[in-house]
Each structure stands twice: as structure tokens, then as C-alpha cells.
Symmetry: C2
């Protein structure tokens, strides 16, 4: 009998998140599923890893072809522990999410969900992060089933180019069905914080921060634009941050000491 694909599932919204539950349900229809979820909400933890010897991992559920663990580390820790400690074989794919909240645009930089996918990609494992453009804890994910299954099966069958994973962002459910999938670039945009300070009793200033995301990109080829128009966006996402196109312009630094 052919061995079923091993699917490692993780997220950054904690083990009770509805989006994780949906992703696990869908993955169990495709293969053997190992879940390693964060214990707490780890949104915006980026590619943080735990360096202190303080991690704990506990088995929460087990049934044939399915195990669910919870870990007090970050999403990146969960991925590492998943395939380096909890599994005898390398996963055929790592899927992360479904995140409650978009990871389009520069959100990908802060995202624990995408960091988990990128970590797997760095170790040569096919990886996809799924995110919905809604922060609601009770968000509706049912319009995504067919797409998530089709994308996952395609990656399992055909793989991904070396050095990239997929950042998949879904529009919220609306009156009309999703129009399709678009391959996109990451939109320009940024979070602008609004800090409010008060005097701390122990000295210093306590800060409360609100934040607003500002898109700075009018392009129709971005992940933001796709979602706004009820398409699913897929950004092929790399961890090689080298901006080779600027080697020439930056070349001047090789000579700065000779100039003096």
C-alpha cells in the first residue's frame, strides 16, 4: 500500500483557533496529519525562535493517521520540533494557518504564520501559508475548502521551485463566489503606529500602541489588489534577501577606504 503523504500543520493563532481547525480538517482528507500548534497567540512574532531551554510540547489528540501537539514556543519552533523531534520522516509539505488576518503586503515580514512556512522552505520542505482577510475569531472559512485542497494537492504532486514557499491570501466571504487565483507580487505598504505614553510609577514611560496599515501601492499586480477584487493571491516567497539588482550601485562601498 502506498504511504500517505505526511502533512505538518502549524499556525500562530494558538491551538484553539478556528482557522487551524479548518486546515486540519481539510488536510486529514488528503494525508497523514501531524499538528504542532502554538499554545498562545503568536501573531507578529516574525521569525522569532526560542533560544532558552524552556520549551514544552504536549500531545493533545491522537487517532489513526493524526496527532495534535501543542507547544509553548513560536511558530518557527513548532515547525522545527515537528519534523526534527516529533516525526520519524520528513513531511511532504508544511501548511500554516489558516491565519485570522491577511498576510498580504509587508505583513509577511511580521507574520508568524509565514515564518513557519519560510522555515520549512529553508530546510527544503514544500511549504504554504494560508491567511484570510479577516481578524474575526469566528471568521467563515467554508468558501476556501476546494481551493486549499487543490493548492495542497498540486504542491504535493508537482512540488515548488527550490528556495520558495507560497504566501496564499484569501478574500473574506462575500455575496459573489471567489473569482479565481492570481499570482502576485507583495504590495508596498506599512504599519504606522500611534503611541500614547503615560508616566510609569517605577520611572520611565509606559506606551500604549495602536497601529494602522497603510497601503502605498496602486499596482493591479499586487496581492492587495487581488484580494480587494475577490481573487485569491499567491506570492512566491523567498528567504534569500539579497537584492542582486543593486550590486552595481552598491559596488561603490568596495572602494570607500581607498577614497580616503
Amino acid at each position: 500500500m502506498e504511504q500517505k503523504p505526511l502533512i505538518l500543520v502549524t499556525n500562530d493563532d494558538g491551538y484553539q483557533a478556528k482557522g487551524l481547525g479548518k486546515l486540519v480538517e481539510l488536510m486529514r482528507s488528503i494525508g497523514e496529519v501531524l499538528v504542532v500548534s502554538t499554545e498562545e497567540v503568536m501573531s507578529a512574532k516574525g521569525h522569532s525562535v526560542t533560544t532558552a531551554p524552556s520549551m514544552k510540547v504536549s500531545l493533545m489528540e491522537i487517532s489513526p493517521g493524526y496527532k495534535k501537539f501543542v507547544c509553548n514556543g513560536t511558530p518557527v519552533d513548532c515547525v522545527k520540533i515537528g519534523y526534527q523531534w516529533l516525526s520519524d520522516r520528513k513531511p511532504d509539505i508544511v501548511v500554516s494557518g489558516i491565519n485570522h488576518g491577511t498576510n498580504a503586503s509587508t505583513n509577511v515580514i511580521y507574520s508568524g504564520t509565514m515564518a513557519a512556512a519560510i522555515e520549512a522552505c529553508m530546510d527544503g520542505i514544500n511549504a504554504v501559508g494560508f491567511s484570510l482577510d479577516s481578524y474575526e475569531s469566528d471568521a467563515d472559512f467554508d468558501h476556501l475548502d476546494d481551493y486549499i485542497i487543490a493548492i495542497t494537492k498540486d504542491v504535493l504532486e508537482n512540488g515548488l521551485p527550490e528556495g520558495i514557499c507560497l504566501n496564499v491570501n484569501f478574500p473574506q466571504r462575500s455575496e459573489e463566489p471567489i473569482k479565481g487565483i492570481k499570482i502576485c507580487r507583495q504590495a508596498k505598504g506599512k504599519w504606522i503606529e500611534k503611541f500614547t505614553g503615560c508616566q510609569s510609577e517605577q520611572g520611565g514611560t509606559c506606551l500604549w500602541q495602536g497601529a494602522e496599515f497603510v497601503y502605498e501601492d496602486e499596482g493591479d499586480d499586487t496581492d492587495f489588489s487581488a484580494m480587494k477584487n475577490n481573487y485569491i493571491s499567491i506570492v512566491p516567497t523567498q528567504f534569500d534577501l539579497t537584492a542582486r539588482q543593486y550590486f552595481g550601485e552598491i559596488g561603490r562601498f568596495e572602494h570607500i577606504m581607498k577614497k580616503k
Copy 2:
């Protein structure tokens, strides 16, 4: 009188780190200096940001043209607070480090030092992360003075292309002087963890993790290769993670639902 450039200095090794002290000393010879350092060691915190309203910032030192604050957030928080809350004007440059430990190769992904530089870059501010290939708390930084000053002055004078910052890695001090600067690409490599488990009294498994970095790149155009040969490496580092070169290959995903 011409206004001196405003230099925002941060790091991820905490406010007492020797590398931070060296960078502050050098920057004070160039311009007005605002330091916002992490309170604790925040190595490997990646692009993590604090979302809970729990940040605290305290003034530690002040003299003409110089202020030093400490913050209990992450390096990215320090940058945000530095120019959005503590300063009336936008910094002319953000410098981060000098990190105790290399941020060459894929270390850049995990690095709080580089995340701080990238965060500034995302907001259109010139930014440079400086790191030394030594984890020693008492590491020798004195062979770097002229290079750090020359690089910083060049960036202040000529700027950087939009959307990139510099990841500068220095070799340890050796018998021979540094040979020069090389513009490099990020080397391939990864951390391999070694987990050891023990039964927790509260149930579950506690994990101790050691880790070893493995270079997987023989190229002579990498940051790793430059440092190994006693050169300073500079990688132009981007936050746009879009792997445009794979748009064609990934294009198949636009049709997966039609295939069914």
C-alpha cells in the same frame, strides 16, 4: 549652522552590550545620536513586534547631542519608538549593532539586529546592520572603527537605493589587517537543532535544544566566503520577498480549479 545628521542607534544584545557601546561612540563622532536599546538580549527574535500594551521606555543617559533610552520591547519596537515617539525629526540613518555574532547567510532571517535595520528601511529610512563574527561578550571591535565610520558617512552622503538596507558582517580581529570590503550575496546555510527531551512533571515533554549552523554553499561570492577570507561582507538586503523569477513556473496555480 548646519544641523548635524540624526543617527538612531539600536541593537538586540541589550543596553549593556560592548558592541552597542562601540557603535554609539563612533556615531557620536559623526552626528546627533539617539539610542534606543533593548533591555534584555533579544537575539533571534526576528521581526517580532510587541502587540500587547506593555512596553516601557526609560531615559538612561543624556548630554548635548546624545540621548540613550532603554526599552523592554524587541529591536523592531525600539526602532518604531525611536522615530515615531522619541524624536521630533526623522533620523537620517538607523544603525543597528554591533551585533555579537555573525548575521551572514540565513542568520539574517532570525536576526533582531537586521530586523531593526529592515524595519527602518520599510519606512524609507537609510539603515545599516553591523555584526561581528564573534559571540564573545568581550569581543574586540577596535579593528572596525574606520570601516564603520566610512560606511556610515557614505550612506549619509549618498543614500541607498529604495527598498534596501545593508547587512554588514565583519571578520574577527586577526594577525593580518582586514583586506577590504566585498559586495556579496547571502550564503546558503541553515541551523540544525538537536533536541533532547525529558518528561515534565506537569505532563508533556520539556525540550532542551542545541543548534549548529551548517553552511551549504561553496560559492566565492557569498558573505560567508568573504568573512572567511578576512573581508568585510556587505549584502544589499531587501524586504520584498517576491520571487518574481518564478512567476512563470508558479503560473500553473491560476488554473488548478479549471483542471478539476
